[in-house]
């Protein structure tokens, strides 16, 4: 098959691709409520509370109740909003988040019912760039949403989101350059394979930290949740959204958390690989999800700990600390790679 846009490392027949995309979508849809519940429960525990524990056993049906509540709400829009863009913006956020989720490798090529299936959406040669491309399009979801709402708070939130995401995207990309140079490939499964000797978190520790910090900023999570700053902006770009549209934004936000966690796991923590033991292929997705949930825990832990940054601190930290550090990291890695290899 001649690749239309990029080299494809491994591809199955079209019908397997179709089934895989549906399964991946289903997984994303199923995982998000779990993450949502885990976050609220954990946040509660961090604050000496129980968290939601009324709906269902141990509050397990709380996300379901939330979704039903949001989905059955009146579909409204402010009279000042721009109708088409107002409806389109959450969809952009949702699609880009899910598209980025599709490329996360959950395991090696496995034999399922006599058919070789790669446990990832698709193994494209541009792997990381694909993620960043969709991350960049995701800005439009936030910005259009904030702008099309026709509200000052939404607009302020969208402006903040734009400035923050652009600032941190640079550092985030540069922090991965070290990994990419060491691995010598952009394909995510190949990067995981390259970590069979040692996870990249060890040689690329600085890059890992930069990626983590930038990842928090990219997902608008505390302490970088300025676009949503509920105290000052009454939820920022999604102030005017309600019902199913708000649910889409919310859903996209949590898928983004999963994507950033998944990229961190793939790039730095050896993806589906475990140290010292080599489990059979079907364990791989569970290993990846275990690692992703460790990151989700970290996200919640940080949220429970750190207060929100001031806006100028956010900007100066991104441009004056993270960006030089990431550049330096890439430079040093390049020198070492050339000197050793």
């Amino acid at each position: 098959m001649t690749p239309l846009l990029a080299d494809v490392g491994y591809a199955e027949p079209w019908w397997v691709q179709l089934i895989k995309s549906v399964v991946l979508f289903a997984i994303a849809v199923q995982i998000v409520p779990i993450v949502l519940l885990a976050e609220r429960k954990l946040l509660g525990r961090f604050q000496h509370r129980y968290g939601p524990n009324r709906v269902g056993p141990f509050g397990a049906a709380q996300p379901l109740a939330d979704i039903i509540k949001l989905a059955t709400k009146e579909d409204f829009r402010p009279s000042t909003s721009i109708g088409f863009l107002y409806a389109l913006a959450p969809v952009i956020s949702l699609i880009t988040a899910l598209a980025a989720f599709a490329i996360l490798p959950f395991g090696d090529v496995a034999n399922i019912f006599g058919q070789d299936v790669g446990l990832y959406g698709i193994d494209v040669g541009i792997g990381v760039l694909y993620v960043f491309a969709f991350g960049a399009i995701a800005f439009y979801g936030l910005m259009l949403g904030g702008w099309a709402s026709g509200s000052k708070y939404s607009f302020l939130g969208a402006m903040r989101a734009a400035a923050q995401l652009i600032s941190y995207e640079v550092a985030m990309g540069l922090s991965l350059v070290g990994v990419l140079m060491t691995a010598g490939t952009l394909s995510l499964p190949a990067i995981v394979e390259a970590q069979s000797g040692m996870w990249y978190v060890v040689p690329q520790f600085v890059g890992f930290l930069i990626f983590l910090v930038a990842g928090f900023a990219e997902t608008n999570r505390a302490p970088f949740d300025l676009p949503e700053a509920d105290a000052e902006l009454v939820a920022g770009y999604n102030t005017e959204y309600g019902g199913a549209k708000f649910a889409s934004y919310f859903f996209a936000e949590y898928v983004n958390i999963l994507v950033v966690s998944g990229i961190a796991v793939t790039m730095f923590l050896g993806g589906w690989q475990l140290p010292f033991i080599d489990p059979p292929g079907w364990v791989d997705p569970f290993v990846v999800f275990g690692k992703i949930f460790a990151f989700v825990f970290l996200f919640v832990w940080i949220r429970a700990t750190l207060p929100r940054l001031r806006y100028d601190q956010l900007m100066s930290f991104g441009w004056k600390v993270l960006l030089p550090l990431a550049t330096l990291n890439a430079l040093v890695t390049a020198i070492i790679v050339v000197a050793v290899g």
Binding site: R45, F46, H48, R49, W301, T305
Partner: protein, 179 residues
């Protein structure tokens, strides 16, 4: 005006926060962040402090001033209240209404000469000050331990004599002083 004003001995040295930036700043940022993470994790390990209210209740002290109760003599079963209206007079919120009537030998309600034919407390007005309890010469009215009295309309909050004489449906957990 010559030169700057010298505060002299009265000057108080203000402890300022360390300046941001530099290696010290980076160290402090990381150190303090880790300290904060440790603090929150310790809170998590401690476990929830929540008391799940409708299921779990905080016991009240014996002197807790909850909903009023009227009492009977345990041996004869006669009401202690003699309808003197001292509680109504003492009530600063004016929420007690007493209408007294004469006891007769064949229709004896209370131990005294008269009894309370009507005894109503409007709990919507009551401020739970306990003055009625203090004013009562026969200990006929006391402040109980019930505090769950919310209702859907105001008229349901007017408690009659029969309601006040009844044992409460659910007993509020009690604890002793010092527990």
């Amino acid at each position: 005006m010559t030169g700057r004003w010298d505060p002299g001995e009265d000057a108080i040295v203000v402890q300022r926060a360390p300046q941001a930036g530099g290696a010290g700043g980076a160290y402090r940022t990381f150190g303090e962040t880790l300290r904060g993470l440790k603090t929150t994790m310790a809170r998590m390990v401690e476990g929830p402090k929540t008391i799940s209210y409708p299921e779990e209740k905080v016991p009240v002290y014996p002197r807790f001033r909850g909903r009023h109760r009227l009492h009977r003599f345990e041996d004869t079963g006669l009401e202690k209240c003699v309808g003197c209206s001292l509680c109504a007079a003492a009530c600063p919120a004016d929420c007690i209404r007493v209408v007294a009537a004469e006891n007769t030998p064949e229709h004896r309600i209370s131990a005294g000469e008269r009894y309370a034919a009507v005894y109503e407390i409007n709990l919507a007005r009551c401020i739970f000050c306990g003055y009625c309890e203090v004013a009562c010469p026969f200990d006929a009215i006391t402040m109980g331990h019930d505090y769950e009295m919310s209702d859907y309309n105001r008229s349901d909050l007017i408690f009659t004599k029969e309601m006040l004489l009844e044992e409460p449906l659910e007993r509020t957990p009690l604890r002793n002083e010092g527990e």
